[in-house]
């Protein structure tokens, strides 16, 4: 029983962290119409950033500033934001298919650099030497995990609340206007380029936050955590849940992550030994089919976007 509860805590923690990431992605894609093919690079920037800033000094690579944890986490998110600023300045004006390729390339390059730059990131063996915050004080592993989960869920709720307010705000209206018809928006005096960039950076910071939390949870990050397949999984979560819709994003995350873990568990449990090697392979086929299937059957996702009524405009009409 305890094992099951413990596992559920673990599952919900990871799912919540990924949900934060998908919310960030939703801001970029669902609300602003930006195709980020390199999601994992920003997630990774947050992960590596947090560990480098908050970790203990190591001999073979930089970092280890041992910063107060919230600062390290914010630093990680900021690293993601800075990366987003650079990438955004260079690529956001591109047509959507070029943007997809360029951002995909960013992710491949990020993983490549992290894998090779020993001095920066510890290379292929990853970053260690991180002490999880307050872990020394809380002696019980299970209680610590529950506390960690509480913090993560709190952050998830905050992020959700923040993004929901953003959508209803004038800024949110601008995002929608640009998404629907850029030329019209420009004629109204809005600067689509600047607005898109801020949305891209904000979404990436949220991705970085999730990445930082992820790395904190494991107290470890390696190039294996920032493979393009994670980009793919996060996209699947958004597409299945419903793009343009924060509730859909969270719902999709839990659904897909649940499917992933259940399929992994069932294969490990029931499949013959020879097939075990192919667990990951089969999971990827499953996810791939889910994505293609959703797009064929219900591209708007399971929880489609509701029409947003901005609070301030209805007030004015009165």
């Amino acid at each position: 029983m305890m094992g099951l509860v413990s596992y559920l805590v673990f599952f919900t923690t990871i799912a919540s962290i990924l949900a934060i990431a998908v919310l960030g992605l939703n801001l970029q894609w669902g609300n602003t119409g930006l195709f980020n093919g390199g999601v994992v690079a920003f997630f990774g920037a947050g992960a590596y950033g947090t560990l480098l800033l908050g970790g203990t000094p190591q001999t073979d690579h930089i970092g280890g500033f041992d910063l107060f944890y919230p600062l390290a986490l914010i630093g990680g998110a900021a690293a993601a934001g800075i990366l987003a600023w650079v990438v955004g300045r260079l690529t956001l004006h591109l047509r959507h298919d070029y943007l997809a390729i360029a951002t995909f390339g960013v992710a491949v390059t990020f993983e490549n650099v992290m894998r090779n730059a020993q001095g920066l990131s510890g290379g292929a063996k990853g970053l260690r030497g991180f002490n999880r915050p307050l872990e020394a004080w809380v002696n019980d592993g299970f209680i610590y995990n529950v506390l960690f989960l509480t913090v993560v869920v709190a952050l998830l709720i905050c992020t959700y609340w923040f993004l929901e307010r953003l959508i209803c705000s004038p800024y949110g209206r601008q995002l929608r206007a640009i998404r629907e018809d850029e030329i019209a928006a420009r004629s109204l005096g809005k600067n689509p380029g600047a607005i898109r960039l801020t949305a891209f950076i904000t979404g990436s910071c949220i991705l970085g936050l999730a990445g930082g939390l992820y790395a904190t949870f494991y107290a470890f990050v390696s190039p294996q955590d920032v493979l393009p397949t994670l980009t793919f999984q996060l996209w699947a979560m958004l597409i299945v849940g419903g793009a343009g819709n924060n509730r859909g994003a969270i719902f999709g995350t839990f659904l897909i992550w649940g499917t992933w873990t259940i399929s992994g568990w069932s294969l490990a449990r029931f499949a013959p030994v020879e097939v075990q090697l192919y667990t990951g392979t089969m999971q990827f086929i499953l996810i791939g089919l889910v994505i293609v299937g959703m797009l064929l059957w219900r591209p708007q996702g399971l929880l489609p976007e509701r029409l947003v009524v901005s609070q301030s405009s209805t007030k004015k009409l009165n």
Binding site: V113, F232, V292, P299
Partner: protein
């Protein structure tokens, strides 16, 4: 340095063949097809299957042709693999991309292509195993063409280059001398005008997919011949092939050819200065530079 240049040309030929098909599809259907590179894997593995089949039926076909590790069985297999891959490409379009395009947007097709790539790559892994394989277990020695500067070339590499150039020449002939080629170019330039001129768009689109599959299969076999065959051929070549199409300009077949060679040479020359671990990032750097400096590539049309 001349070794890098030569290696780059040889790799470039393979990337070019992959890029021609991608540039045609990207231009016509306006979507970045992340699953195109997987067609190379399908081609490579199909040829493996046919090779085993033909060698089994007629063992004399399995003799090496001269100094190559290429056999008649493999050549025949390659042709069959081209057919299989062409068919796969058009079927994937028919059942996936076309339907998604009708229901959703162009971007949905991009996501779907990610999904299709995942499925193809992993299904191949499931069927054929995750380890690398080779067409032939013979060890083929590189020939020392010159000692100062040192230049080593495998006969297979020369064969691949010549075969690739031959295929491109045939394509060039078709495009510049046959009415079918004119029809392809017409659809690329102005689809509505092509339609009112009596060209059935759906048929041309299907043919473009088939051709892209044919070329990709050849590229896949050539890659397998010079390197090895494994399920991640597509994953490894997706960025270089995209880079080649962007360098050449999306929609330009000659651009894709040139782009392939440029990317191949650049990636290999970069190894002279960068540690080899960074080579996957080189195509991306090329893409980024191009998009900043000349987004429509060498021969593409400026974006409207």
């Amino acid at each position: 340095m001349i070794q890098s240049l030569t290696d780059g040309i040889l790799v470039g030929a393979i990337v070019s063949l992959g890029a021609i098909g991608l540039t045609m599809v990207m231009h016509m259907l306006r979507f970045a097809n992340f699953s195109h590179a997987e067609l190379l894997s399908i081609g490579a593995y199909s040829a493996l299957v046919f090779d085993a089949l033909f060698s089994g039926i007629l063992p004399s076909l399995a003799n090496n042709i001269g100094p190559l590790s290429m056999t008649w069985a493999l050549i025949l297999s390659m042709l069959c693999a081209m057919g299989v891959t062409g068919l796969s490409a058009v079927l994937i379009n028919e059942f996936v991309f076309k339907r998604i395009r009708e229901k959703g947007s162009e971007l949905s097709m991009v996501f779907a292509s990610f999904g299709v790539a995942m499925v193809i790559r992993n299904v191949l892994g499931l069927i054929f195993g995750l380890k690398s394989q080779l067409y032939s277990n013979d060890i083929v020695f590189a020939v020392l063409v010159s000692t100062e500067p040192q230049l080593l070339i495998k006969p297979d590499q020369v064969f691949v280059l010549l075969a690739a150039l031959l295929i491109m020449l045939i394509l060039h002939f078709v495009l510049s001398r046959t009415t079918f080629g004119y029809a392809l170019r017409a659809v690329a330039e102005n689809p509505p005008l092509a339609e009112v001129s009596g060209i059935r768009l759906s048929r041309v689109i299907a043919l473009v997919w088939i051709i892209s599959g044919l070329l990709a299969a050849a590229a896949g076999v050539f890659y397998g011949l010079n390197n090895h065959i494994n399920p991640v051929i597509g994953r490894d070549l997706v960025l270089p092939i995209f880079a080649a199409t962007i360098v050449g300009g999306i929609g330009s077949i000659y651009g894709a050819v040139l782009g392939g060679f440029i990317v191949g040479i650049a990636a290999n020359m970069a190894l002279l200065v960068l540690p080899s671990g960074y080579s996957p990032a080189v195509p991306f750097i090329i893409i980024l530079v191009l998009l900043l400096v000349r987004p429509h590539g060498l021969f593409g049309e400026a974006e409207t």
